[in-house]
Symmetry: C2
Subunit: 420 residues, 2 copies
Amino acid sequence: MKAEIITIGDEILNGQIVDTNSAWIAQQFAPMHISVKQISSIADTGPAIADALKQAEERADIIVVTGGLGPTKDDVTKLTAAAYFNTSLVRDPQVLLHVQEIFSRLRTGDMPEINKQQADVLANAQVLFNDVGTAPGMFVQQNSKFYFFLPGVPYEMKYLIEHRVLPVLRDLSPNTFVYNAHLLTVGIGESHLARQIEDIEAAMPPYIKLAYLPKLGLVRLRFTAVGSDYHMLREETDRHASLVAARLGSFVVANEDISFPALIVRRFTEKSLRLATAESCTGGTVAAELTAVAGASQMFQGGVVAYANQVKVDFLRVDFDTLQAFGAVSEQVVKQMAEGAKQAFGTDYAIATSGVAGPGGGSPEKPVGMVCIAVCGKSETMVKTYHFKNDRTINIQRATMAALTMLWNLFQKEGLDSIE
Amino acid sequence: MKAEIITIGDEILNGQIVDTNSAWIAQQFAPMHISVKQISSIADTGPAIADALKQAEERADIIVVTGGLGPTKDDVTKLTAAAYFNTSLVRDPQVLLHVQEIFSRLRTGDMPEINKQQADVLANAQVLFNDVGTAPGMFVQQNSKFYFFLPGVPYEMKYLIEHRVLPVLRDLSPNTFVYNAHLLTVGIGESHLARQIEDIEAAMPPYIKLAYLPKLGLVRLRFTAVGSDYHMLREETDRHASLVAARLGSFVVANEDISFPALIVRRFTEKSLRLATAESCTGGTVAAELTAVAGASQMFQGGVVAYANQVKVDFLRVDFDTLQAFGAVSEQVVKQMAEGAKQAFGTDYAIATSGVAGPGGGSPEKPVGMVCIAVCGKSETMVKTYHFKNDRTINIQRATMAALTMLWNLFQKEGLDSIE
């Protein structure tokens, strides 16, 4: 079945809020073989809402509307929907009781009319009772189309999708299954990757779709199969994912839906290995990426952000003469930083970065975007120099990703891991 | 003028990617008085693209299309647009050269046709040259409507909006001036702030609009005035911004469009003050926020990511008995961390964080979301305990913002700065 999501609210249109609701809803729908055909963010006005409903129902079977139901929204959404469905608003006694209860928990005195209006629902709707907020959801079924109206507050919306909307939808298509397989690739560009597996992709059965999901320095591959025979779907999808993985070799670092830092944290934890960082140009970003992963404390010991040269000498025991002779941005210095960090933190591995992030600080010999990275492991230290471009933010991100990739490669090379 | 944004890509529709591009674009358009009327995310198919273009041009003057231009996208977007505008695709020699150059930097051998197609552009378009990627943007002007086609990769899209799209839009209305004034407030919530300045806002002339742009822990106020008399616009807008600033007092930290970390970097640099960090639960994020600012090396000496307790003892000279008695997440320990960092890095100020970021590691006495922060200055050390909630990512962000706010407050208190 096809779905569309309509989000109502000026906060999204003027850029104050990023619409994360729609992606979350789409993720819940995908495993039910409900594919989202369009997501529209529209203004909180009658004409915009009516037009969006009309256009959506021409393309989709399921229309989910979020937002526009708060107590200060003047009921535009509900009044427009009532006119659209040629019905009226009625005050739901059960919802009114619920709203009254919440109100009296927060304030004393009589509840104003504006709050009572929260209990007004479309006369033709099934009320989707909202246990976690005041605005109820509504479900309307008309001309074989299914309309869901939900509040926009993320946790209320999520509650209603999980507890009210999905149960309704499950009853609509009981015999269709979806199966997903994932590959995470690192260090190979999207188009190069596509060429390498062109023949495998061309020979895939039509019920399996391959999506390329690229991000700085890595590409995620997602195989999605849809059909009525779950067993066959799983077998065939996994078989094709394995073919692709075999072709791509060591570019594939995981065969599941996991982030690269989370993969590193997990593998290092499994092997009881510890890591430290010594960051100059990345300024703490490598450490921040790793510690964003829950459980990172199992393998991440700590790090030094060695911005000033004196810090490189004092904390990482970089040799002052080496600094003088080659400069802070050099393979010689970054090697000493990594080895110094490994030593100082007593870890098995250490990452070090030093570079010219920009926009200033470049020279003909060491231009903006030049970054030296070292990874020190059990038995050797890998050192590389990269040449990125002019944007400071992107240079920091690319250097961070390059450092994690080098760490992964050394970790693999030292024979301590293989994809299971 | 009215704008619409169309994003093309299955990754958004299936929920794999949250559309952050549209919010960013809306933010760039707002100060130019271009209001976004609808944001639509659609599938990568000809009919979907053609329908979206048709519906958008009925509502808006400016249509921005992002995505659907990558080398593996089969040129659906470009072919559909060519048919839509009744034109053809032509290979742009300058773009081809650029693509070839990027290709040969990464690989040897002949460039395949799929890459050459990146240089194909609409014959009726003005090419928006993409210095930071292979896919060029395109600008089409037809029947008083303005169409911009941009790649979906965020940093390429941003580059093209800033360097190619905004200049074109500025030229469209040469006799209309837009003037913006900005206030950056820290430590006061949006609704509280709105109540404080209600009367000033109500008395503003109709050609000045006030936008509240909240982000974790801070609210940016943007005054936008549009009209033909630039002098008057500027005077009146600045006057109203000053009224608001006077009312809000020390909550206002800057009267320009600057990020909070950038403001801190600038003020510390002006006063020749140096800063160090000692981060446990924020794991390098405070350092990363500061070093993301160009020129941070003028005031940021370095930091320690003290994840393991041993690192707190070895690098920051935290007393082992204090750690034992009070635990790592305590005001006693975080105070020693800040003072130890100031000492070890030889700086004027130091920030320290220690907390339970979650989702694991909480206890009844020290629940998930509890974060202790210390800021050590010239003459005193400020220490505070915060109680955030359950989301690891948000806890890290909130703790980072709280740490920077405490730093700013101590810096102000020590009489070393005032808004000029």
